[in-house]
Symmetry: C2
Subunit: 904 residues, 2 copies
């Protein structure tokens, strides 16, 4: 049941309601949507906002729950507010002498640009049109508005295919012998209105509704329903926006930017969303409505030109920009219209921006005294950092551009050219990189854009759909590249220099410069990583400086440690540069695949006795492992290194190819058939749940003992040389106390043996991975002997759900997401209501018996911001993730601490 009023006027006391909602742990935008909340706030602040009202998100939720039926009382409330609106504006629905026209727009908690429906000019009918002609003396404008309204209403609200309406205009254009919409006569547009009414009637079976109230209610219904259209669902899945939020509906008095040359419409950012530079950034289009700008079909002028066009409006707008940025403490992305020399604010919202811009803006706002370091840290979504850490084109290998477009979303991308969003998806599924090339993109292309490495369009500017979405996704994007001509039929494009690029050809784009190059251009390390590695030139790059300053704030704030998952000294070094405070997971299995050891390892597996196994382990493998561990422990000098003993089932190591089988046969003195038979015998029908992890440690202790010996020999050797190695031995796949007891017994024994023999003491810990549900249930027991728990949430997710990642992700996860069984793969973001229950159980039970128990996570979730927040909330001591995710985890941990502080 709704808790709040169903409808609020913009002029209601929004500040008071916002305070009330915040006291309840909510926000105004949860109820009003972002657009509605900001319109109300701007109204309260006395800014020039056309009057209107907001139907709340609660009503949308009720509407959806009731199977797309209006909640009781809503219609009455809307009509009541319509009366108020008439009073506020002095205009009246359906009154030819002073008609009220409104726009009906969606507006969800998070902006979903272009994903949902909008109806403009609602309130039109024949009488109103006649009256408006009388009032404005601008017959062409009125018929144009009318025909647009019928088309939008027919398409958006009633679901009649838009092209039927477009045909009406085309027919009249042909009849009048003109090609441009703007050349059609007033009489022609009037004729289009009549034709469109016919189209409407023939498809719907009823005449076009003339009553404004009926139009309005249907409009609201259409917006509610559009929350559930396919592209909105796809967008939410992509952006992890909950399907349960619903959208608000904003009904606002129309203002017209297309009433002549003293009118116009614009979009602007208070700072450059690509670079973060503090300049007014945007575009203005004279004598136009907003849709003309966003669609990218007419080319607007830079926003700065407005100063020459209408200085008074420009100055007013600049002043408003300043006020809004100060109020929202963030860059604003605004839409406005000038109607006959009067400025109206139609929207403001926090501006989407690139990662580089986000870093600069956060630091600049702080330096300008607008926000604290804490507030600054909250301004950058952690996932976005990925963009600035990812590779850039290697300048030495970068060829000359053959065409150049607008630098809309920075970053380097190379891929095979495709021309359809669906093709991009298909390519990505096959694991191939592709580049989506379009005239312009539209919301239908969302999934294809996500699948492509980058986007190249022939039309549109920096605020076109491709540019906005590209920046938000962190996809490199070059737009408005007028020098290419696309032939969708032939699936190719031709550049001004005559170069023909066909589907499947490799092309590379640099979204930071607008350059488009032929071929698969090689990528180099990002400037930030170069700087972190100590490269002086890179360190003087402003991006590097913003990054390090910003992250230092995050480090001061966060409570949780951040470690890395690394298996080599090289990865370890990179991770340290990126801020890792230790290793949370070193996997030892990859080490055995080295050319110099795989044969020995295979011989060991095929040994007939424990004795023989032990002999091969200690004679042939120990030295290699010791070297592996020495490298990593040295790179991590003074920082803890968790080493997981061998995890995969042994059959994964056995050879399948003829040559390798022959080699192993020779080395072991067995026949190739015996080798194959042994491989089959070791094979498992469900290897995930088979003879692996500590089960090997119990049944073949020789292997683990050798690994433990190698770890401590390496550590002791380093210690003697003045290093400070801190090895932490981790036993995987434990579900039973007995497994831990057996593995711990020899781990401690061998460790003590080695240290005694070497004559040095090394600080070490022994712990276990928690990756099976049963381990969570008996965590209180395990914690009596384990010194640390590290959550292996990949396997914990697999076993809690009964999902084999290999088998299910490709096979039916898409179906599950489409059918809304879940929205995000639980392998991507930790499943808090399910798997999270087990993690929490293990934490609570473990700390019950051992308050000093160290708790961490080493599954891939350790690098996912939402999961990091979960880890913070359940009280983990650290998260561990791949080196490149370390900065993301640092930031996510800081934000988690700010959202829900815990004691250091």
């Amino acid at each position: 049941m709704a808790k709040y009023k169903p409808v609020y006027m913009f002029s209601d006391d929004a500040e008071a309601l916002a305070k009330k909602l915040e006291a309840e742990g909510g926000q105004l935008k949860y109820l009003f949507g972002g657009k509605g909340a900001n319109l109300s706030i701007m109204t309260a602040a006395g800014l020039p906002v056309p009057a209107g009202f907001t139907v709340t998100t609660e009503q949308c939720i009720e509407f959806m729950k009731a199977g797309h039926k209006f909640p009781a009382g809503l219609k009455d409330e809307i009509l009541k507010c319509t009366k108020k609106l008439e009073k506020e504006t002095g205009k009246k629905f359906g009154d030819p002498t002073n008609p009220l026209l409104v726009s009906v727009r969606s507006g969800a908690r998070e902006s979903m640009p272009g994903m949902m429906d909008t109806v403009l000019n609602l309130g039109m009918n024949d009488e109103v049109a006649a009256g408006m002609i009388e009032l404005t003396g601008n017959e062409r404008f009125v018929w144009d508005a009318y025909r647009r309204f019928i088309m939008m209403f027919g398409d958006v609200v009633m679901g009649v295919d838009r092209e039927h309406f477009e045909d009406c205009l085309a027919q009249v254009k042909k009849q009048e012998g003109v090609t441009e919409d703007t050349d059609v006569s007033a009489e022609g547009l009037k004729q289009v209105v009549e034709l469109e009414k016919e189209v409407y009637k023939s498809h719907i079976g009823k005449a076009f509704p003339t009553k404004a109230e009926d139009q309005l209610l249907e409009g609201v219904r259409a917006v509610f329903q559009s929350w559930d259209n396919d592209r909105a669902i796809a967008y939410r899945n992509l952006n992890k926006i909950p399907h349960e939020w619903g959208t608000a509906v904003n009904v606002q008095t129309m203002v017209f930017g297309n009433m002549g040359d003293d009118s116009g419409t614009g979009v602007a950012f208070t700072r450059d969303p690509a670079t973060g530079e503090k300049i007014l950034y945007g575009e203005y289009l004279v004598n136009a409505q907003g849709e003309d700008v966003v669609a990218g079909t007419r080319t607007p002028v830079p926003i700065s030109d407005l100063e020459d066009i209408d200085k008074s409006c420009f100055d007013e707008f600049v002043a408003i920009c300043g006020r809004l940025e100060k109020y929202y403490k963030d860059v604003q992305d605004m839409e406005f219209t000038i109607e006959k020399g009067k400025l109206f604010m139609l929207q403001t919202r926090n501006g989407k921006r690139t990662a580089a811009a986000a870093l600069k803006i956060a630091v600049d706002l702080h330096d300008e005294g607008l926000i604290t370091a804490e507030e600054a840290v909250m301004l950058v979504p952690p996932d976005q950092l990925d963009q600035v850490l990812h590779p850039q084109f290697d300048p030495k290998q970068k060829p000359e551009a053959f065409v150049t477009g607008v630098d809309a979303s920075p970053g380097a991308a190379a891929g095979k050219v495709v021309f359809l969003a669906a093709d991009a998806e298909a390519m990505a599924e096959k694991g191939e990189r592709c580049l989506l090339v379009r005239h312009e993109t539209s919301p239908e292309d969302i999934r294809g854009m996500a699948a492509a490495e980058g986007i190249l369009t022939a039309f549109g500017g920096k605020t076109s759909h491709a540019a906005v979405v590209g920046r938000q996704m962190g996809k490199p994007c070059v737009v408005g590249c007028g020098d290419i001509e696309i032939d969708y039929k032939k699936k190719q494009f031709t550049a001004a220099d005559g170069t023909v690029v066909k589907e499947g050809d490799f092309v590379s784009i640099d979204g930071g410069t607008g350059e488009v190059m032929l071929g698969d251009v090689a990528l180099g390390e990002s400037v930030i990583i170069q700087g972190l590695r100590g490269k002086k030139a890179a360190q003087s790059d402003p991006l590097y400086q913003y990054f390090t300053r910003f992250l230092s704030w995050a480090d001061e704030i966060r409570h949780m440690g951040v470690r890395t998952n690394a298996d080599t000294p090289e990865d370890s070094a990179l991770a340290i540069a990126l801020g890792a405070e230790g290793i949370g997971l070193t996997r030892t299995e990859h080490m055995f695949f080295g050319e110099d050891r795989i044969l020995s390892f295979r011989k060991m597996i095929l040994s007939d006795t424990a004795e023989e196994r032990g002999k091969i382990a200690n004679k042939e493998l120990l030295k290699h492992q010791r070297k592996d561990f020495r490298g990593i422990l040295k790179a991590m000098d003074g920082k803890p290194v968790i080493i997981r003993l061998l995890d995969p089932p042994l059959h994964e190591f056995l050879p399948h190819e003829k040559e390798a089988v022959a080699e192993v046969a020779e080395a072991t003195g067995k026949t190739p058939k015996e080798i194959k038979d042994a491989t089959v015998a070791l094979g498992e029908s469900n290897p995930m749940l088979g003879h692996r992890g500590c089960r090997l440690g119990v049944t073949f202790p020789e292997i683990y003992e050798m690994q433990v010996r190698a770890i401590f020999e390496a550590a002791c050797d380093l210690k003697k040389k003045g290093f400070n190695p801190i090895p932490e031995v981790m036993i995987p796949l434990v579900s039973l106390q007995g497994e831990l007891d057996i593995c711990f017994e020899y781990t401690h024994r061998v460790a003590e043996e080695v240290m005694e023999k070497k004559g040095v003491e090394v600080e070490y810990m022994i712990g276990t991975m928690i990756e099976l549900p049963r381990a969570c249930a008996v965590a209180n027991t395990l914690a009596t002997t384990a010194q640390f728990f590290s959550f292996g949430t990949n396997d914990l997710t697999q076993t809690a759900f009964g999902f084999s990642r290999d088998d299910v992700e490709g096979k039916f996860f898409a179906d599950y997401i489409n059918k809304r069984v879940f929205q995000i793969s639980p392998f991507e973001t930790l499943d808090a209501p399910g798997v999270g229950v087990f993690v929490e159980m293990a934490c609570t039970r473990g700390r019950e018996t051992n308050p000093d128990l160290e708790l961490g996570i080493c599954g891939e979730h350790g690098g996912d911001p939402q999961s990091v927040e979960f880890c913070h909330n359940v009280g983990l001591d650290y998260v561990s993730c791949s080196p490149l995710r370390v900065p993301i985890a640092r930031l996510a941990a800081a934000q988690a601490q700010l959202k829900s502080p815990r004691q250091k």
Copy 2:
């Protein structure tokens, strides 16, 4: 730390201590072991028990925890009690004029016959021997006792191989030219003593200890240690006796049954342990010690003969039998010795017996007024019922016996003959039935006996090792078959009629008659099942009558329902006869393998579209499924039938053999290669965790919809004919609410559609299997729509542990049990501390949102008594198991209710 005194005299106030322990939720035997408790109780009752004391189990536990070291103070306490014993008996350790000799025996909470160590005649040394000769005038007896003591002490306490001592006797026998032990002269035995002392010294490096106190302490240590010998561990694993219990040690004054013809020793049951008949049953051996009877090397006389041998002792013993049975309210199994005409009770315990005897005894004791129905129900271990339900030889096909032995443990068994326990184990592992044939069995053979179908021995009587263990295991056993001569070397035996049976030949035995037959004799249904199916002749069989009366008591007591897992009308009918109150699980996958449908099913799987799939499902498969369900619902008329929709991954249904592939290719118009490719494409690396269960229901709803349609069409048709079908549709492998929502939506829809079309209403429910850990965590949500939960504890165990049953049971479970990682496979008995936590979580959370939620279990654990008790304790409404386990579950549920009553 120990809570109680370390040592108690038999003459301490045992009744008071027992009351105290019971008040604390324990039992006297937990502290004293069974033997110690009963000796104290008998002493308190004034029965003739040789004086002694008991070292408690607590001390053994401390001893083991401390790494086989005596707990502080224990030695002093033992020596203190030795002094008390000297006072009670008037004898003195090491006093030649009146020496105290004692036995040192183990005694655990549950009797573990022959598994642990015993030392007799402790206290002997040269002076004592000389003194005893003086006292008894029986030189031969004294030297015999002495040489036995040295051998036992050397073997049992000090671990010197017994055969070294046996060689001493053999040497003297050779020297004297005799073959029987009893023919060796006194002087010869004295010589054996000297030789044995030499053996001892040469192996131990020190002379044989002469101080009785030293001997005693070492003896106690040896008994403690024997708790952990291999055969004791194996026995406990087999009998699910916790390794943590430890054993008590009983030190008791020796009495001698081998002091002449007025002495002897016997074992007896108060009722016949094979049939339950109320007759004194047992054996007596003149001039012998107990070990002679148990070893089966000399043939004793029936216990009834004692009346002629020594009427006074016999009458006294009969009177004692009556008192003990009345006190313990159960059949007693006793050991006694007559020393020079005086009766001494050495042991009493509840007698192990066959299932048939157990049923008769329980009912008889009740009818005799000794016990209530509730007490009677507690007297039969539920697992034991298996014995009387299992097949018997079909009398029509039973051939003539070629030899006959003693009917020691009833039941029919056929298998290939093996002569070594290890061979029996090996055969069983290969899945082959075998029959173990031995001269006699010993505790070392335990595992082989468990692996064999039955046991045949050439020597020994009804109380020999093979007989006792056989009855306890419920293994058919024929002993003392003197007409066979075994040649272990040739691995064959020869019967009196000249028949030679070689290893690997099939032999059948009837343990109820003692008959041994050649060949693999066919088995027929047990008399109880025949009776339950309505066969009049069987119903007049006393066993049938005892069984039904006994189970009717259990049914009155139990709170939990018992259902069955059945996939056919035939199984359903059998289960109803055995007392099932409904079906807890009908698997539908087997139904598709029928010859008339597998091709259609394969065509459906290989369909390219949902439409085609739906068409094949409804056109070709629906009719078969409808028939399947009609049969089962009819058989279960008026009882609920839970039908689980298709569970396994689809690739399991695709063909692999060439012919089948060709057939499918023809039917689908595809090439054989395409069929094979499709099979590979559908293949999974971990099918257990793959695309199965409700995941099929979400992605291919056509299949489930067809199944639901078939269920409701079948139910409606039956309803119209006057039956009362109660279908309950179960969705498997649910982990997410969305899965349930999707499957429930169409299940309800199709059910309503069919009922409306058919014009009848059918009572039905829709629920889900709970078999994944995540489902337990979100059970509160699932319960908002599910009307019932049924725990699939097989899969829940697999996922909670991360065990693939197929892969791990064969591969390393034996190792896990040997290394004490666990004692019982969690697939056999529900793992209460781990998996049980999830079951309980799901129960609690589910009932939180839906107090009427029906809870049951359909995993194999539903037929395991210990797991049934767990299910009772967490509040399940019913358990479901295979038809033959239904009576076991009924009894187990009744016992669970008696142990821990819950409100009906």
